[in-house]
Symmetry: C3
Subunit: 678 residues, 3 copies
């Protein structure tokens, strides 16, 4: 926690209102009423901070920071590289992105810069250093916020300009040393794609190469590298005169940027959460989606993170944008905290009058001042967070299970062709994660390069690519007693998308020999029976052969591969490995993982079965926390249903907020969160 607080506040853009002093004054007053203790300043403010090249105007910012400080409000200070001022793009058009069609962008929008561009870096560094000098030691400035949603721009988020092509070639040279190595890694003799000069390499493009998956996956790696490098260069600038930690706001399941790479540059993970609540009366899919992202963010650095943006009412960019129903703002805010966030921050404090986000939800609307449902909802969150501060201090979630979620695998499995083109890695991971969520058993979402130590159960669905060292790590994990689950289309290729040709790398651990994969039409869907109930086998049906000693728990019931295994178990060392050969449905995954949890000795913090729509998480005092941590763990019980829920059999707990004793039965309002402690 920052200075012992749960942060509450959000993006604040006073530069849009500098000619309305009464608005600026009202802002401070209403922040206090709303229990806001922290705002983010400076995102997209470049044109106001540096109105002409080399001419800086920080007075308004200093005034605001000071005024906020007087009101006891902390500041997260952003570097403004998220949007380029017009004087910059006019004088240095080469600083703008080139899209994959080879066309240089025109000025406008945001995130429109080349990550390689020296002039872009030079200009933003000069400004960042000044910001660092002037504000880096301000008392109420607590954190640097680098740029905004890095990579969230045109099409693939990457720049394809000549400088980027050069940088890509340099990166490849460093990685492969020789073209021979590169040609071998990319299987270059297919379609005569042998490179004989480094300059022949070009980024993937619709009017050029897009069929060479080795190139594509390396290009994506390079893009993440280059974005991270840009971020690092800004960090160096802001740290010049400041010791404050840095963050940058991540996005939900953001494919263009490998956060396992970028996280290495920053101190604190933060992210922007925008679940699509009220798409359906069944809020569980969105709740699972949000929890999965929280779990991913928390797992990146195995510790607390910040919810940097969320919306207090409705966003403005979806096809349709429902208002948050009563209770949902509180519930989704506490969901973040329950999963390890030490903040609830909003985009945005006040709706602007014009341009793209003028109807994006905010604490303050255009009309009615504080007399709105939204304002009241926000103030309630502020109050509750304030009250929870002590009992959450120094706590964090410590799951005993993990689901593998890996960017490189994501890229590779969706870019490859066959057995089907519509594979959705995130959807698949979410289905498996949901089984954990429904049981109230927390799981980290971790990359393949992360250690597996400390987990009892690791699930690796659709784990197509085995990066170097991964198979051995899994072997050791299972040997040492771990429980490992994986599926069809796992372990097919190595780091550069070359198929394994000897054996499946985990053949011994899984105890199966894969032969072929059917991608049947709906009419040819298969089925299998598991523990006496029948489940569908659809879309992807691997045909594998069990090795001797492998236990076949279920087999296909139809078609020519009737009798081939669908679920297998193999003991290996002290542990066990399970293989699921076919895509099925949630009903199956729910039952399957119930067994896994039992075998792994995992249960949720309350030790009970949860009704549909309810999940729980637990924050426990963090090992090595510097400061006075809470003494007890706290359990967040969340009801995402539009009706009340009743949990029974949970023993005796105490409501951490009102002290009420909860004994055996816990009754919950619709869309609500209760926080319990022992």
């Amino acid at each position: 926690m920052f200075k012992g607080k749960l942060l509450h506040g959000g993006d604040y853009n006073p530069e849009q209102w500098l000619d309305c002093p009464e608005i600026l004054e009202e802002d401070i007053r209403l922040m206090e009423e709303a229990g806001v203790n922290c705002v983010t300043l400076g995102v997209f403010s470049w044109a106001v901070l540096e109105p002409e090249e080399g001419v800086y105007d920080f007075n308004w910012l200093e005034e605001r920071i000071d005024r906020l400080g007087e009101a006891g409000i902390q500041v997260i200070l952003a570097t403004p590289s998220g949007a380029m001022p017009h004087w910059l793009t006019q004088k240095y058009p080469e600083a703008m992105q080139v899209q994959e069609n080879g066309k240089r962008n025109l000025p406008g929008k945001r995130h429109n810069f080349c990550y390689t561009s020296p002039v872009m870096r030079e200009k933003i560094h000069a400004l960042d250093e000044r910001l660092s000098e002037q504000f880096g030691k301000k008392e109420n400035v607590i954190l640097w916020h680098i740029s905004n949603e890095l990579g969230g721009n045109f099409s693939d988020g990457a720049c394809h300009c000549k400088l980027c092509q050069e940088a890509f070639r340099g990166w490849l040279k460093k990685k492969y040393k020789t073209l021979d190595n590169l040609n071998r890694a990319w299987w270059g003799r297919f379609w005569s794609h042998v490179y004989t000069d480094w300059n022949q390499v070009h980024s993937p493009a619709p009017h050029g190469e897009w069929s060479m998956t080795g190139l594509t996956v390396d290009w994506r790696r390079f893009v993440s590298e280059q974005m991270s490098d840009f971020c690092r260069s800004e960090i160096q600038a802001v740290k010049k005169y400041s010791d404050l930690p840095v963050t940058t706001n991540f996005m939900a399941f953001f494919k263009n940027l490998d956060y396992n790479r970028l996280k290495q540059e920053i101190d604190i993970i933060s992210w922007d959460s925008y679940p699509f609540w009220h798409k359906s009366k069944d809020e569980v899919p969105e709740a699972v989606w949000a929890s999965a992202n929280h779990s991913l963010m928390r797992a990146l650095k195995k510790g607390p993170f910040l919810l940097m943006e969320s919306v207090p009412s409705a966003v403005n960019w979806r096809e349709y944008n429902p208002l948050k129903r009563p209770g949902m703002h509180m519930l989704s805010s506490l969901q973040a905290v329950g999963h390890g966030s030490d903040s609830v921050q909003y985009f945005q404090w006040r709706k602007g009058r014009g341009a793209y986000e003028k109807f994006h939800g905010a604490v303050l609307d255009h009309l009615n001042g504080k007399n709105t449902r939204t304002f009241r909802d926000v103030a309630e969150v502020g109050e509750r967070l304030y009250a929870l501060t002590e009992c959450l201090k120094g706590t964090v979630n410590v799951p005993k299970a993990a689901v593998i979620f890996d960017w490189e695998n994501w890229w590779a499995v969706e870019d490859t062709t066959g057995p089907r083109l519509d594979l959705d890695y995130v959807e698949c991971v979410l289905a498996h994660y949901r089984a954990f969520w429904e049981a109230g058993i927390e799981a980290d979402l971790i990359g393949m390069d992360e250690p597996l130590d400390g987990y009892r159960l690791v699930s690796a669905p659709l784990n197509y690519m085995y990066k170097s060292g991964y198979a051995n790590k899994v072997k050791r994990f299972v040997e040492n007693g771990g429980l490992y689950v994986t599926t069809y289309f796992s372990g097919a290729v190595d780091d550069t998308d070359l198929c394994f040709t000897e054996n499946h790398p985990l053949e011994d651990v899984l105890g199966i020999v894969p032969e072929e994969i059917d991608a049947p039409s709906e009419e040819f869907a298969n089925s299998f029976s598991y523990q006496g109930r029948e489940y569908p086998a659809v879309r992807m049906c691997a045909v594998v052969h069990p090795k001797e000693g492998t236990e076949v728990l279920s087999v296909y019931e139809k078609d020519f591969y009737a009798g081939a295994p669908v679920v297998t178990r193999n003991s290996y060392g002290e542990g066990q490995a399970f293989f699921i050969a076919a895509q099925s449905d949630m009903d199956f995954l729910r039952v399957f993982y119930r067994d896994m949890f039992q075998k792994a000795g995992l249960q949720n913090a309350l030790g009970i079965e949860l009704p549909y729509g309810v999940t729980i998480t637990e924050r426990v005092p963090q090992k090595g926390y510097k400061g006075q941590a809470a003494e007890e763990g706290v359990v967040f019980v969340m009801n995402f249903r539009h009706e009340p829920a009743e949990l029974s059999g949970l023993g005796e707990w105490k409501d951490a907020e009102n002290g009420e004793i909860v004994s055996s039965v816990l009754r919950m309002e619709k869309l609500s969160c209760r926080i319990l402690t022992k």
Copy 2:
């Protein structure tokens, strides 16, 4: 009326048949048989009129005009700028459009020119002046027709070349004087979009700016300005040697060009009507669509207009193109006349042998000469129009109600983001207009800048943008006894898409304070009860608070905003204002407007309830008509059903065509029109 005639005829392209004299001769003969009294010549004829730069060949045209004159057929003479000859695009490629992606078009298609291009203007003016000189005083030439369907070209209809960018900047300078003003109007500090040099402004582009709605709406205004300027420059050329009036053919609900701007340049409104008849057995939606466009065109200059194009059988450019069923050609022709058209003109007289429109319906097909159903249908229309001439002379429709339909609002409400992205302004306006249509109560479709005097009821659905002066005009209208209806998402922004921040500009008139707008998913659809029946509240549900004294006629029945108003009434001065908070369905609008009509003292010309599928309009002698007008009004009764209809309770009328007395009951054939008088 032109020289006392209802025009009947259409586009005639003899230049395609100059080497077939027998065809040219047959044309005249069959025109006479078809009752054709007017044709349009010269549309797209540039390459034949000026086969080489500066070399003109008008002989064929003169021959045709004279020959037509001999047969008593009048001529509308078009300038041929609708399509550029290849010698022009070859020598002056800069005269062709640049699309929004920055790419210069290649030659081909039509409408492919830059509206700013000096060379295009120079070349067409030289030709126009010659046409003016040679034909401007011909006895049977009655009207200039400028170009063709202006703006109906590639993508957004606009040119994005350097000259257009320059012109746009000049237009902005004139409008805003200073960049400060512009930055304020466009809310430029959002995303650092502050302009510090006029040259930084660029038209909206997919690879540049498209998120700045102030820029976008101004760009659209400029494009309309530039097209109008081009039109004006051609008008100057044709008027050099001629006093004839000018028109240009408009298109149905054509978004790219604000006809309220362009109408200022021309003398007579004309338009091209292509309803999609027979898409469904229920022809009402298409009939409403056509009537709405007629009403819009008529309202532009508050007077008679010309139906410039329609198809005598089927068009060729829709996914599928049904033949007009018997009766429909007559009915849709008279529908135009009934709404104020003084003509029924066709595209086209004769199908060409080749290229894009060879299968577009025409009076004459490739085969069978006049021995076709289509030719007979056309001849019948000619005969009937001829017979109606006297009783329609000097008459026009004079509605007492108006529906606001405004181009700038259209652009703004569909370009903005939130509460939902799929808003369809035309669809919404049509739903409200349909309530009038079904009741047989005529309404003008007018822009926000038009006076409201003379109307008893004004409806302004989805009236998102309040242009300067609009709110005050509405206030005065209601104060003076007018009845005003408006809906959710009205009055949100000013002329440059800046949100109002004090109050809703019509808060006092409407008697409501808006708070938030829900855009619910289908599962969360709401409902309300109105006069004892329940109606759906879907897609857009505003939550507003009634002010003291405002009468709440209906409230939401579900969800957290149950009890909030859906329909309100507020008395203001002598009048009343109604607010509809949610999108509903046709059933609701039908009932709601029935009440409005009653309150406003509006009834249709027959004073009766109409069966479904039947509508009526009335033409009355026009005030100030120069010439001998008819003495009585005439009522057009139109049955768009595929079955007979019976109207009862209508008192005594006379069939204006056969003199038959209609007493109390009027029986109508399917797809037919009866014309009654007192």
Copy 3:
């Protein structure tokens, strides 16, 4: 047959495995086990054959050919122009294609070259000549294979570079002599599209001309011409030192290239067949599709052809890719042979480790060597083909019926606008062809320029364009006793898409006068009664008038054209012509053609009714076959159902493979083929 063999084998890419000698050795061994007697080498091998400009390395290829020769395996040797090496595109970027948007491609993918480019031709010819010199007389090299799937590249397959524009203009000059002729043929005065300089002509482009159908159809002709010219130029190169015949692999219903043009350059037709088996349990549509393509390929040169590519398991490029069910590989292989193929070849022998086609089915997978279902399936095919060799020697199918399938008609009818835009010519032809297939009556698919001699029944559905001479040929065909069937929207335009303006060119033969064509919506669908049963008339309903003496067999039952003919018969000379005015369904076509077959005296080889899902073909000794042909015809009976079938009433036959006598009843396994002889 080549050297008396039914070829079995496929694409072999040893260049991908040159550093794995054990793999190369295993290849030969397993080919022998799989009954492979022929492989295709060199497709896409340019980068390995000529690693630097002018530096050749043929050693690996020679070694492989010799090694294959030792194993008794023949070689089809491909020229490697299907993919360009990077040294070529780097040094000569002008050799790459320019797409229709005017953008030059980047290197990558395959088929990325300009067919006109002199440098591309020079480089590939130099290589081809060397190949010819070194391998053109090798004993086990039997056939040249030019390039790969010509035209199968970006978007429309055509190059739009300046050189191609020049070549197009040259081609037009040669065709039209004068611009006057061209302008007349393209109806250039429409929209002022008169060309006054040859340089004004540009290929169709989205940002230029696409509305001029005369230009478009000529452009498509030119593109076919240019591709054929490129192919011819390669043929000249390989024939420099070699007398071997040449082929190039065609694709299924490939619109971009008129195979009736390209066939003139090559000696032997071959094609790549990839039906989408198991999309549905009803395999008939795909079986019909495959048969139709086989029939098209066979008819191109009226003789045996080669199945050059097929997949032994699943492809990798469809949205989903089902495994071939047991039996289907054998059945679809024999389907090809039954329709006239003298080979069963695969793409590919062994799956590569990387890049775009690593998961494309192959005889050998990445794992498990020969221990796969796929390998066993392939080996069975090899065995069965070997056993069938003698009884198929010198045989070919000789249908007595033909369905017109013409590329120029295809282009024209789908490019024109009206009466509906979604016409699908292939779908329409397939529906008619299917009636033949279901009856087991073979039909050739032939172009309009082919002779009709020898056929008793010719069907020409959706025969929109009548090329010069076609109408007269049909007249003679019917006069001489032929039975001719055609439909709505036939005979509308001439070679350059100009509508006929006198009469329908076959008015006398068909005995009808067409008036108009309705393209009704679903709600306005019509119907007709034929032989006592009602059928739908949908999507396209021509209204025609019977001439005197024409027999009306069925009429519309609804709408204003109720009573107009749907099916007519007209006797003309010794023959009869049938006209079908409306699109109907398969039920109608089945019944209609049953009558046609009877009238034409056509029956299938077994002379019986076939159960659904079963078809038959017959190969008979070929007239003029050089060599020892089989003495008897053989009949292929194919069951495409997933259940057994029973055929009865077929008299006495002998199973050509096991000698078993089949008397009266033939029982068939699911997905199986029986081969009978007398």
